[in-house]
Assembly symmetry: none
Homo-oligomer: 214 residues x 4
């Protein structure tokens, strides 16, 4: 008996025959020289929104944090364990990435949970509830708009939370300093699972628009 | 001017012409019916170790948390924001995944940092230092072993920390209960960036072995 | 000197040489037999959103009301002059249309005015202010959401007001009775001036989606 | 299943392939810069008399109100909802149009209703009856003229009501002031559905004449 789900073993076998075989030199070089990704992506855990798939990227291209609803907490140097802040520090200070992309997506389960605050917690620890508290003020405002449909409220909060994460990125001194020096740029994007559309955030207005691609 | 790095726009365009075009029906169904991944993967942010690439999986298959060094903190229902615990709760309680895989890899920058505790922090907040404190006792022991080479110490701690994350998974009541009922199984795996080899953890002994694949 | 703007005279001349010449028989028949449009459209006065253009329709196809922001007031048989209600009554009772489409659009000046209620009235009569009072409760709710961008608030209210107009259509007994008998159906649509996209309203959820067209 | 009548979806598809494809830049500019139409048209809802068709105009050219029988009520700053007055205020004060055209047409159903005041109301609300009351004095006089044929009475009232609408436009202070300053001019026109002839109103005499066009 093998120690991984059969599906993953088969997938791994396909990887070795396919991508690894084709990019063996690239993998060797990446092992020898270390990674030098230009872009950090903060994405959601959702199984339908993997950044490597959406951006069709290969090994070494994207340094990726994934948490529920692609949130960035505000800067808090309090000595606690901060998963996302640690990854951010590593990407910016050690890898010296040039771009950070916050990638949200439609039909996000975390955002949905934030819009239903009175629902029962998923477990006594209520970790999702606590985590989504990061966007609680926006969630309350949006949830209270009974004239928008459930789907419209969901999309609205998904986009607000991308802007919120970008604002929080700027609370980290290393991010704001490098951005001011134009050595780091911040981006927002939102992926529509159904249509495959990618909407990118206009950095001035915060609006999401579809880029011109072929 | 577009609002994403040019490389990502080109990659997105390739995705739309390629994978999305080929799997449009799958994406539509995933949007309509929601995601039902069977597997959660806890992986590292490293740009060389994306689980969707290593396991050659398509949309909807893997629910993925990525943090530095693929760590799971122990259960701590203290009302704070816990990124990884929130994702775990969501995967287990809401998505009802059947498998959780902790996927480590070689040449991990976070593990390397943990083995050099006297190095200067990357920033005043020292978020990586605080985050890697999660494996500090193991790191101290391994770092103190002068008879292993630097590379052996690194691999040793990478594997220890996978076992440590799996042990921490079992501190979550929902995980241990479902594992006892055989409705959830926990797995460890370690990916060698250079050779592409995947080593899977023997659940009884904790040893890492190469699986038999074609 | 002619008594119409030169541009309109030239356009009329082009119409006579073009469309009228091509459809002379159709015009004669429409004059002789009377109009029998199957569809009534309630559209905005905006110069960028003419329904005959967007739907590429010819003479006799669409019975069209156009007012600022494509609003339908609620049923009010009070003996006053009601422009939109009169057109509705004529379309439903006399022409027996089978469809009513409320057609909104992006960047609507009326909706923009409704979202800036503290702006100075355009004239002492404040006719736009009074007219847009029809959607005042929704406008207040949307305007108060400071976490959405101005453009997002605008689109939200444009879509809310389409749903509101459709709800008001159902306050007319003749509409609700015929709809129940399945002899009349109500539709919502929203046109994006910039991209040319048409989004149609899902009658169950009220959500706006892009239809599948070639 | 789509949410619009099939005919409109097909027409929209033709628009996208045709006019939109050809005028994409114009639409983008109109979205970005806003509309700046020089002319407001007050036209009838009749499906055979769309002003964009008769004047062969493109996007951004005509700001269009359409109500039954192209009527303008007199100035009444009474705090009620006034559809046509609101559109007029917006066109004159905000868009600063240079021309207002009242466009009537032959075989107008509203005018016909006004000439048959003893006919049964179309619905208990009698919205058409109330709306056409705006031209009741003229309608009574014309209806009482037994020496004109029915068709002559109809054309007579169609033209009287165009002059009446133009007179009412001048009851709005903003219109009369701007007309006096020669920054706004008012026009009347009447369209013959059968022959396609356009008759324009001589502003001095009020007579309708055929303009000289190629």
């Amino acid at each position: 008996m093998e120690h991984l789900p059969q599906r993953l073993l088969e997938g791994y076998s396909a990887f070795m025959r396919g991508r690894y075989a084709a990019e063996r030199d690239r993998y060797r070089e990446l092992a020898r020289e270390g990674q030098t990704p230009e872009t950090m992506v903060i994405a959601c855990c959702d199984s339908r929104a993997a950044p490597e798939t959406i951006f069709d990227t290969g090994p070494g291209e994207l340094f990726v944090v994934r948490n529920v609803a692609n949130l960035v907490p505000p800067y808090a140097p309090d000595g606690k364990h901060h998963s996302t802040s640690a990854a951010l520090e590593f990407a910016v200070q050690s890898l010296k990435v040039k771009h950070i992309v916050v990638l949200g997506h439609g039909r996000c389960g975390g955002i949905q949970a934030a819009l239903s605050p009175t629902a029962e917690p998923l477990s006594p620890g209520d970790f999702i509830g606590k985590w989504m508290n990061l966007v609680a003020p926006a969630a309350e405002t949006v949830a209270g708009n009974a004239m928008m449909t459930a789907s419209e409220r969901q999309t609205a909060l998904e986009r607000i939370s991308i802007r919120y994460s970008i604002a929080n990125l700027r609370t980290f001194p290393c991010v704001s300093i490098l951005e001011r020096k134009e050595r780091l740029s911040l981006h927002g994007a939102w992926f529509d699972i159904s249509t495959g559309e990618l909407w990118t955030m206009n950095p001035e207005s915060g609006d999401f628009q579809r880029p011109e691609v072929d």
